[in-house]
């Protein structure tokens, strides 16, 4: 990359602080005029060493730390960690807790997609999209706040169940928020489809075919926009997803416009799943009967073994590999984030495009650098 530069070539560092990035990473571009000839990524500006910290904390303290892997989808990170530990312990939460977890996961998916679309608009200069999306997101965050008590980091899940029950009046407020949200999502879609400048900047830009995407190892909406129907909620269902009726949203074009369209369709599917859950949720206990979970358990020893558990994050496939040696602290936890392979696939995609297209392509991947760095 730093070999002999020709007379009209130069190297530009899109450094750690840049308005076009979702978090600090350094993108080195080698430009010839306005065309990108070579690209390189440097990571690690917000590396905290979570995997080493988790080896020194008990499992219950670990739930609070795992929240902070990706701050936008904190409840899904907790779901992965708690799911791993429950498989090692050999317990299963009762039905009511599983429905509450699905409700919170889908609410997280809606607010993450809204923020992703808003930030994509901000990176290419469509700031009014950003403002509208954040306003709708605040309503959904108010719903999550009613249940868990916090907006960003929750510590709400426990082994075998959840911390508290749903409050009174949640169902009516949620249904009224969803009615408004359906109209707003229709407005957004019309805004995207009719704006001429937006279409010229996104249609036909950053095209991925299905074979190239599978080879690069991406997953999530980026893969579903190329036509591959890969969704962990259908491939290996966890919690109560096998009792719910929903479809996997795909498009075939594979460009930036298709990725935004997939996210809008997924918001509509999530609202449909939430209405089913609020209808079907049964009564019952929050923790398994006849066990000690739910009361205070300061020292909890997990039997020795190892497990690999995957969940469907709003950005793709999230996995955790946990090894336990029989004590009250994990021996090794490996966190596999969904944005790590997508960020790795960015340099081959932007070679040959112009600098303005770099903003479109990297914004449509909808990333969170914090989970790539951990």
């Amino acid at each position: 990359m730093e070999e002999q530069l020709e007379p009209n070539e130069m190297i530009v560092h899109l450094g750690p602080q840049h308005p076009m990035q979702p978090g600090p990473f350094r993108l080195n571009l080698r430009l010839k005029g306005e065309t990108v000839v070579d690209a390189d990524i440097e990571l690690g500006f917000i590396h905290k060493g979570i995997e080493k910290i988790l080896e020194n904390k008990t499992y219950l303290q670990g739930i609070t730390i795992v929240d902070r892997i990706c701050y936008l989808v904190a409840l899904v990170n907790e779901e992965c960690f708690v799911g791993c530990t429950e498989k090692l312990l050999g317990i299963k939460p009762p039905e009511r807790s599983q429905y509450i977890r699905v409700i919170l996961d889908e609410l997280t998916r809606i607010q993450s997609h809204l923020l992703g679309m808003g930030e994509f608009g901000e990176f290419i200069g469509f700031v009014s999209m950003f403002m509208y999306a954040i306003r709708e997101r605040e309503e959904v965050l108010g719903l999550i706040d009613m249940v868990t008590g916090a907006r960003v980091t929750h510590s709400y899940l426990k082994f075998g169940g959840v911390r508290d029950d749903l409050p009174d009046g949640f169902k009516e407020k949620a249904l009224s928020v969803f009615n408004n949200l359906k109209k707003s999502v229709d407005d957004f879609e019309e805004m995207f489809h009719t704006d001429r400048i937006f279409r010229e900047r996104t249609v036909g830009v950053g095209v991925l075919t299905a074979d190239v995407a599978k080879n690069l190892g991406v997953s999530g909406p980026v893969l579903r926009a190329t036509g591959v129907p890969f969704d962990i909620r259908k491939n290996e269902p966890y919690l109560v997803y096998k009792d719910l009726d929903f479809k996997v949203c795909t498009e075939t074009a594979g460009d930036c416009f298709a990725r935004v369209q997939v996210r809008i369709n997924e918001i509509r599917e999530s609202i449909y799943i939430l209405e089913q859950c609020l209808d079907q949720i049964p009564g019952g206990p929050l923790f398994p009967e006849g066990t000690m979970y739910g009361r205070r358990t300061p020292v909890m020893r997990v039997p020795a073994g190892e497990v690999f558990h995957r969940v469907e994050d709003p950005r793709g496939e999230m996995g955790m590999y946990m090894i336990s040696d029989g004590s009250d602290k994990p021996y090794r936890v490996k966190i596999r984030g969904p944005y790590y392979p997508t960020l790795q696939a960015l340099p081959p995609l932007i070679i040959g495009t112009t600098v303005a297209d770099v903003a479109s392509i990297s914004g449509s991947m909808d990333g969170c650098t914090s989970e790539a760095d951990r």
Binding site: F45, I46, I53, R68, Y71, L115, E138
Partner: protein, 184 residues
């Protein structure tokens, strides 16, 4: 106002290093006394505190609350606070999150690129003392040994209303002339 008249006119045989044609130098500190020790400083501070522009730099979990603070529901524009992307156009640097060993040289460079007067505000527990990552091999704790910090906003992450309260405290500090950002 009277002492300003003591000025050295540029004599024809004056060959000091500051003998630039058309420039008048004084040896008293009259203008700077006027600006800093009288009521003119209050006027300048009133202007500065009502238009604090911050640099958007989302570094960690508190970064997403910083973005939410600037938008609808918790609007900062009514206080005169707007986000700017470039450090050369900003007044306030918000350290919103943990600082790692790899990021610290870039942060120092951003701080040096900001024109003075400039202020720093620490948001969240991670920049104050380390937060939940206090024992990590890769984070830097105790940032106030490196930067002159005016306001600390605790929380993990603090709510947007708490960050607005932090800005209001900074405004009060500037009004009382006790901040570390401007030279008095």
């Amino acid at each position: 106002m009277g002492e300003v008249k003591e000025k050295k006119a540029s004599k024809p045989d004056e060959t000091s290093e500051e003998g630039i044609p058309g420039v008048i130098t004084t040896t008293t500190s009259a203008i700077s006394d006027l600006l800093k020790k009288t009521k003119v400083q209050d006027l300048i501070n009133w202007g500065r505190k009502n238009s604090l522009w911050f640099m958007t730099q989302p570094m960690g979990c508190c970064g997403v609350e910083m973005i939410a603070m600037g938008c609808a529901h918790y609007d900062t524009d009514r206080f005169g606070i707007i986000p700017r992307n470039s450090p050369r156009q900003a007044d306030v640097m918000l350290i919103s999150g943990y600082v790692t060993k790899k990021y610290l040289p870039a942060l120092k460079r951003l701080w040096e690129q900001m024109p003075s007067p400039k202020w720093v505000m620490c948001i969240g527990d991670c920049s104050i003392s380390g937060g939940p990552f206090y024992e990590s091999y890769s984070t830097v704790q105790n940032i106030d040994e490196i930067f002159p910090i005016d306001v600390f906003v605790p929380g993990c992450p603090p709510r947007p209303e708490a960050m607005l309260q932090g800005f209001v405290e900074l405004q009060e500090k500037i009004k009382a002339k006790k901040d570390l950002g401007s030279e008095y």
